[in-house]
């Protein structure tokens, strides 16, 4: 119910504090406090006061604030509710059912792959193999196992098919016609923002505002903006305050500062414990061999390794994606979406509760193109652990929404709906034409959305896009961009007379300049 | 671990164990030490200091004030005295007070004669002050006198008050003054030199309940004082000195029987006095 009651509030507070207590921050801070209290300047009288101020000066208070901010973001979705767990994951019953069915399909195809190739889902590696794997850890890309029989579990178009068939059993078709587009593929009465709303949401993008990605381009001889921007960025970094960094990112980050800014927004600072955890995950990879590994391997080969932007990062990608698959902390994000990780039982222990395990440990089964989520980050971080933790955070906060069915406004379904409604309201002619020639816009745009444009835009432009995703903490910008691209190429698109032709027009997006496009779509 | 130490305030706890005394002394020692060799490592120094305090060999060659400062220091000193001069006892030599003092001064340069004389009074029942004394007698008398100094003083006050009361006017009720009036101990005048044991005991018992310095266990006092109807002060002291219970109460010297044995003291003692580590298996104080 609206207006969080004290009860819900206190619940939230409890949750946050509990989570924080588990972090090293808690112990470190206590120690720092103790150290402070030892100082001469302290008197029992004003101990509390002076202690607080001392912690503030020594920067702890800021660290704490960031941590809390981060926790809030995560806990926000999980407010105290009387709803049964599955309803908390996803309120719409038919949505849940659909997701369930889709997951079952994935399980089936995984299982059949196992039986066909007669390989187990997971097995312990014999010591020799472990040694061997360890020895070529940094060049996983070079060894070429035969993966011809492995095929991606699913590709964007498969997933789109399912979305297209989503229907609300309770909706009244004849009536809906009057209220909702019947042009588009997404036939769900989901609430989508209008351009007006988007304009206010993304006001920082307006033409009046200088933007990284336009005003810092080398074409402009004296890059005043760029240097100003960088100065400001440095100050933001010194402030070590996530919300500040987030605000900053709305206008895009200078390439040189992006890594630091993003890390600050995401609250990722790789300390030695994280480093150790990374090693721990690595050892897990070494110990067990998963079927998923082959799929990951295949996907890297099919995508990044074949991409003239990303092929150089192939080895790096193998590493962090394998490690990702072993990271159980990713499971957390299943708590608040319709998705549920695949389950299985240790061999020979079928049906025994205490021997049930999730598969893969991260619960995430990669689809064709999954690799690209990580690939683009290689331009920002080259130290594997740092790259990994940023990727994990990005995934659990954003990308995760892009391949599960949910009514969440950030969910892929809503994003598709938003794209279609934008196109229909503001480019009706174009939409109608494309639909006429059998080139449903979403058919083309879907893979963009599902991959957050990774591997479609030029690498620099993509990073500028993700700046905004982080800055506005929203994926809606993806739908806006997709819409923008269509209306930008409208003249060519209006000439096409087939799906293939339309696709051809939109096949190469690497030449597009992000910011002007967005501005065009939102404010012109 | 008995939760006792948690029921008192921090200050009380520190006072109870004379922690501040030791810390202060430690620092002053450190500063002094620093004069000779400035490159001293404080932590190391302090650690050594407290280790030696713990082992009880910290009083050697220290000034009297320090030696007297805490019960632990006193016992430590008594022990050193015994260890160093056992031979005297073994050889069976008898010495007089002055000589004993010179021995003590070897261990503590400013050791006052007064205390030695008090000890002698005990051994010699307060007369023929320059007689010779056996080491053992002196040792135990000394232990009594030195360890319970404050107690004995007050006890003697009580004793005299009772005396004067019973002798002179009829006000029999005696309120022992715990306050230490400066000056010489009251002279015990002539006449039938004894008091009624029970009365004396009652007074002393009252004293013990409130006394802030260490005092002999009450039941030992009872045992001694109840043995005879009347008791003289020095008879009382002599009895205390000879009482094995006192020795074990102070708990620093071996029983009288083995006092002159040659077994290395450190072994038996240390085995007797190693601090029990705070055992994790002890019950919660709840």
């Amino acid at each position: 119910m609206d207006g969080a009651t004290d009860m819900e509030l206190s619940h939230l507070v409890d949750m946050v504090t509990r989570n924080l207590k588990a972090t090293p921050l808690y112990t470190d801070m206590r120690q720092a406090a103790a150290a402070q209290a030892q100082k001469d300047s302290f008197h029992l009288g004003d101990l509390k006061q002076s202690l607080l101020s001392a912690l503030e000066e020594s920067g702890w208070e800021r660290k704490l604030r960031n941590a809390v901010y981060r926790e809030m973001l995560i806990c926000a979705q999980r407010e105290l509710s009387i709803a049964p767990p599955e309803d908390q994951k996803e309120p719409l019953t038919y949505m849940r059912k659909a997701q369930g069915a889709w997951e079952k399909r994935i399980l089936k195809s995984l299982n059949s792959m196992c039986t066909e190739l007669s390989v187990p889902l997971a097995r312990k590696r014999p010591p020799q193999e472990q040694k061997e794997l360890l020895s070529r850890w940094t060049e996983l890309g070079t060894e070429e196992p035969d993966l011809s029989h492995f095929r991606p579990v699913y590709a964007p178009k498969d997933f789109l098919e399912v979305l297209v068939n989503l229907r609300n059993p309770n909706s009244n078709w004849t009536e809906q016609a009057s209220h909702f587009n019947l042009w588009g593929l997404v036939q769900l009465p989901l609430r989508t923002k209008t351009r007006k709303q988007l304009q206010t949401d993304f006001s920082e993008l307006s033409i009046s505002e200088p933007q990284a990605g336009v005003d810092d381009s080398p074409e402009i001889p004296v890059d005043v903006f760029a240097s100003e921007r960088t100065k400001l960025g440095r100050r933001v970094l010194e402030a070590e305050h996530s919300p500040l960094a987030q605000q900053y990112a709305k206008k895009g980050c200078p390439t040189g500062l992006r890594g630091a800014i993003w890390a600050q927004i995401l609250g990722v600072k790789v300390d030695s414990v994280d480093q150790l955890y990374y090693q721990q995950l690595k050892s897990y990879v070494i110990h067990h061999d998963l079927l998923i590994d082959s799929l990951i391997y295949k996907d890297v080969k099919l995508t990044a390794a074949n991409d003239d932007y990303y092929f150089v990062f192939e080895d790096l990608l193998h590493q962090i994606l394998l490690i990702f698959s072993r990271d159980t902390s990713v499971l957390k994000c299943f708590a608040h979406t319709s998705a549920t990780p695949a389950k299985s039982y240790i061999r020979g222990k079928l049906g025994m509760e205490e021997f049930q395990v999730t598969y893969p440990p991260s619960g995430v089964i990669p689809f064709h193109g999954f690799t690209m989520y990580a690939a683009s980050l290689c331009f920002v971080y080259d130290e594997p652990a740092r790259l990994y933790f940023v990727f994990r955070e990005m995934y659990t906060r954003y990308f995760f929404h892009l391949h599960h069915m949910s009514s969440h406004p950030q969910g892929i379904v809503s994003l598709c709906a938003l794209f279609e409604s934008l196109l229909q309201t503001h480019e009706p002619e174009l939409f109608y034409h494309l639909k006429g020639v059998g080139a449903q816009p979403l058919k083309i745009a879907f893979k963009w959305l599902m991959r957050a444009f990774a591997g479609f835009l030029g690498s620099d432009q993509l990073l500028l896009l993700w700046d905004r995703v982080l800055g506005f903490n929203s994926l809606e910008i993806l739908s806006v961009l997709a819409f923008a691209i269509f209306s930008f190429r409208r003249t060519n698109l209006l000439e096409v007379s087939s799906y293939a032709a339309a696709e051809a027009v939109l096949s190469d997006l690497t030449t597009l300049k992000l910011v002007p496009l967005l501005q065009l779509a939102l404010f012109s | 671990m008995s939760g006792a130490q948690f029921s008192m305030s921090g200050e009380e706890y520190l006072a109870r164990h004379h922690v501040i005394t030791y810390l202060e002394d430690a620092v002053s020692q450190l500063l002094e030490h620093k004069e000779e060799n400035p490159r001293v490592n404080p932590a190391k120094f302090l650690s050594d200091y407290f280790t030696s305090v713990h082992r009880g060999n910290h009083t050697l060659f220290r000034e009297y004030e320090y030696i007297k400062a805490t019960p632990h220091n006193r016992t430590a000193f008594i022990r050193i005295f015994w260890k160093c001069f056992r031979q005297v006892g073994k050889s069976g030599d008898l010495l007089n007070a002055k000589e004993y003092q010179s021995l003590l001064c070897l261990l503590c340069p400013d050791f006052p004669l007064e205390l030695v004389q008090k000890t002698a009074r005990i051994v010699l029942m307060d007369d023929a002050m320059d007689c010779l004394m056996s080491f053992t007698d002196f040792l135990f008398a000394f232990q009594l006198q030195f360890y319970y100094d404050e107690f004995l003083y007050t006890a003697s006050e009580i004793y005299t008050n009772i005396m004067s009361a019973t002798r002179g006017s009829r006000d029999a009720v005696v309120v022992p003054s715990v306050s230490r009036t400066k000056g010489k101990p009251p002279q015990l005048s002539d006449g039938p030199d004894s008091v009624e044991s029970t009365q004396f005991f009652e007074a002393v018992k009252m004293l013990c309940e409130t006394f802030q310095f260490s005092h002999p266990p009450v039941d030992i006092l009872r045992g001694i004082l109840m043995s005879a109807p009347r008791v003289s002060f020095y008879g009382f002291l002599m009895a205390l000195a000879k009482h094995e219970g006192i020795n074990s109460a102070v708990g620093i010297l071996p029983p009288k029987a083995q006092i002159l044995d040659d077994t290395d003291p450190d072994i038996q003692i240390s085995s007797a006095r190693t601090p029990r580590p705070v055992s994790a298996a002890s019950k919660p104080a709840s």
Partner: protein, 232 residues
């Protein structure tokens, strides 16, 4: 909210039609009647339900007036005359946009504080549902539950607990005590008891001190050998 929901009978939503009931036209309005079987009226602490495409909700309560005299015999005379309808809620919006999925199937909890009049001495409740949008085939509310302000269950629970499996009369207990005391090969019960309670307390502290945190393991004692995924 702890405690069991109040027993009551809930009728299915009854659409309000205008003119000929057989006409296609639906007024977008329906009522759900709830009656509490117990002849004595109830106090309501809160109402919970799962929305099912209802846009607006109003609540009417049938309550017995305070001035009502108790000795008056129940049943029939209890009916129409002395009982009055009061409004508990008026057009509370359950769906921000009637045409859209938003919160169409969400759970709701309405606390007594949120009602316009304190829901005491309630005999029956009428939920008035509205759905102006023709987009939906049907609308209603699912698993509606009423709770009383405080659950009185707990106290008696405790009492029955404390002397759970004890014989009712004391002397029975006493000679048990006696018998056990006399039995020489049973050591003093109190001692055992204290010791046992100590152990029990320890095990409890241990339990409380266990963490939820995870090391990130996915194997079960060292093994993660899996052949196939399970469909359930």
């Amino acid at each position: 909210m702890t405690g069991k929901p109040l027993v009551c009978s809930i009728r299915n939503p009854h659409p309000i039609t205008i003119g000929d009931p057989r006409a296609e036209f639906s007024s977008g309005c329906a009522v759900v009647d709830v009656t509490f079987p117990s002849t004595k009226s109830v106090d309501i602490g809160e109402i919970t339900f799962k929305n099912n495409y209802t846009a607006l909700l109003s609540i009417k309560l049938k309550v017995r007036e305070e001035n009502e005299k108790e000795e008056e015999e129940p049943a029939e005379s209890d009916g129409e005359t002395t009982l009055t309808w009061v409004t508990g809620l008026k057009n509370v919006q359950l769906m921000p946009d009637p045409h859209c999925e938003d919160r169409a199937q969400s759970y709701y909890r309405i606390k007594r504080e949120q009602l316009l009049t304190p829901p005491d001495n309630v005999l029956s409740v009428r939920l008035v549902l509205q759905q102006p949008s023709p987009v939906w085939l049907s609308f209603g509310l699912d698993d509606i539950k009423f709770y009383s302000p405080k659950d009185e269950t707990s106290e008696l629970m405790l009492s029955e607990l404390v002397n759970g499996d004890m014989p009712a009369d004391d002397e029975a207990m006493n000679d048990i005590r006696k018998r056990v005391k006399e039995n020489k090969d049973i050591p003093p019960v109190e001692e055992i008891s204290t010791s046992l309670q100590q152990m029990w307390a320890l095990s409890e502290t241990a339990r409380i001190n266990q963490t939820e945190a995870s090391l990130g393991r996915f194997d079960v004692d060292g093994s993660y050998d899996i052949n196939l995924l399970s469909y359930t």
